[in-house]
Symmetry: C2
Subunit: 359 residues, 2 copies
Amino acid sequence: MNEAILKVISQIQPPDAQASARAQQKLDGLCKPPGSLGKLEEMAVKLAGIRGDIVTALSRRCVLIAAADNGICQAGVASAAQEFTLAQTLAFTRGETGVAVLAKYAGADLMVADVGILSDFDAPGVLNLKVAHGTKNFAEGPAMTREQAVQAFCAGFSMVERAAAAGYDVIGVGEMGIGNTSTASAVLCALTGCPVEDAVGRGAGLTEEKLARKRNIIAQGLSCNRPDASDPVDVIAKVGGFDIAAMAGIYLAAAAKRLPVVADGFISCVAALAAIRLCPDVKGYVFLSHASAEPGTAALMRALDMEPPLRLDMRLGEGSGCPVAFLLLDCACAVIRDMAPLNLADVGEEYTKTVLKQG
Amino acid sequence: MNEAILKVISQIQPPDAQASARAQQKLDGLCKPPGSLGKLEEMAVKLAGIRGDIVTALSRRCVLIAAADNGICQAGVASAAQEFTLAQTLAFTRGETGVAVLAKYAGADLMVADVGILSDFDAPGVLNLKVAHGTKNFAEGPAMTREQAVQAFCAGFSMVERAAAAGYDVIGVGEMGIGNTSTASAVLCALTGCPVEDAVGRGAGLTEEKLARKRNIIAQGLSCNRPDASDPVDVIAKVGGFDIAAMAGIYLAAAAKRLPVVADGFISCVAALAAIRLCPDVKGYVFLSHASAEPGTAALMRALDMEPPLRLDMRLGEGSGCPVAFLLLDCACAVIRDMAPLNLADVGEEYTKTVLKQG
């Protein structure tokens, strides 16, 4: 394992179980049956563990977006032209895309980084962390070298450094890269042993014929590259993308900085799985947002052993689920901050007779 | 059927399919793959049908809460003392409960009505629409007379009249009434033929022994009252509650006024089902919020043939899921209002070659 990645992993501590217990105790004393606010309570408990104290607000939030091109597009797996990677990346900075509009509504900023877009361009709103001009076609060999994979992880570290320095309380993890449902599916298969048929879907909109082709190409990429499931960096280098590597880096660095980090859909969650495989303690810092409509989601959620709170049938990517999840985290903060304690005097002696004795 | 209810039903029109089509067309032209924002797009399309035009904001929102006591508590089916109905109703007006805190965060008001609380009380924040001092124990006979059921529906109509007069753009439907998971389960069984074991759960927190007792009592209530599945008013009168009748009235009146209406969890959704059985066009006005942790939810969602966007494992009631769903509706409005159209010039000739020809 590379030193830069090992160094970040060495800084990751488990969440603070005592702070979580204090949050749970406070929640159990509020004017509601214990546990009756379900996942909102779980979020409040998890946030307390991450920050080491009960969290009453997450005022500053940002979606970090890693944009890169994927050589696998040369094999014809994607429904959209590769030019879309750059076009949408620029559209983020103009506030025009799905994630930009939802982030604005949720009071969140965007941090957009080029970690491997094909072409060179100059846009003041996009961080230049380019590793290379796109990856290679993984159907024919490794998508990138191991050194490039490490460099892309470091791009993610750098994005979190900036987010922490800017004082964000919570971050989300998004991506832009035509062809990245293919790379994410391949990474999922390699990490979990999940069959290609279960992991590969239509992405943003393939025909049945193109879907069959996409499955064949991914299977070919897996068999020719033989990624090592026990080494997520090898998996991402061989069949992943710069965006997935950078996102995995974001999850690791967020955990190291004790920053709550929200995953988006299929590709973002695959990167989260890679980070958790590198360091299981990362899981204590990750919040899911929605269950992507991408068919690999079921296998992915089993591998993560987590359940997303939103079922919106979204399949846009970009980090578009993160602002919506920020709103749910706000709800969790409101519950633990503003609900009144249960006042037994309100319900009188009858309550103590009938309820407290039932335990 | 009673005249007052028939009059409201006669005012319900199907949503405006042309306005929905215009919303769909606009969404399909935005800078994203068609349909990729899933349920957020469906919400925007449905809102357009309800209001007759594309909806760009739902500025004023309110959760309507019907509070009432249930005679079935005499049979020992509930985990909490009946005094909680009044205590929590008063706590709503002090902003202390789950729904109050979440509504405040989501910028929503509460309208709280006593439609049948046991005791008399004087609280300026609670509308007095009391039908009676609680229902009767439905294990031994009808919970209420048909006249009382109609009166409770009219209480719901009156709440929507007030909400419409106050200029709310969207309303939610909540309840408070110890014992109302029992009444809601009985109504669900009667309306759908669903077995008692599938419809009855622990409510706010019963032991295994008490759960078995609750199931037996509900089965007894169903067999002694023989509610007529084809007549939802009869079903609610015999095994329901004043809160469920008032909520069913809210759904009917909201549809009549072309007001988007958000259901909360198990009890609120059972009332929605009753309203939809009375008038199928109501369904076009109803948005679900979350899938309650109550086990009857699966049978209920099958009967409604709808899927809620939130999976929060909540089981608090009160309307607590409605403010969270208002935030999702806000997201839907933001998408259709703020996203930019797809600009083919951004991606150039390559796009037209590769994407448009794929359809």
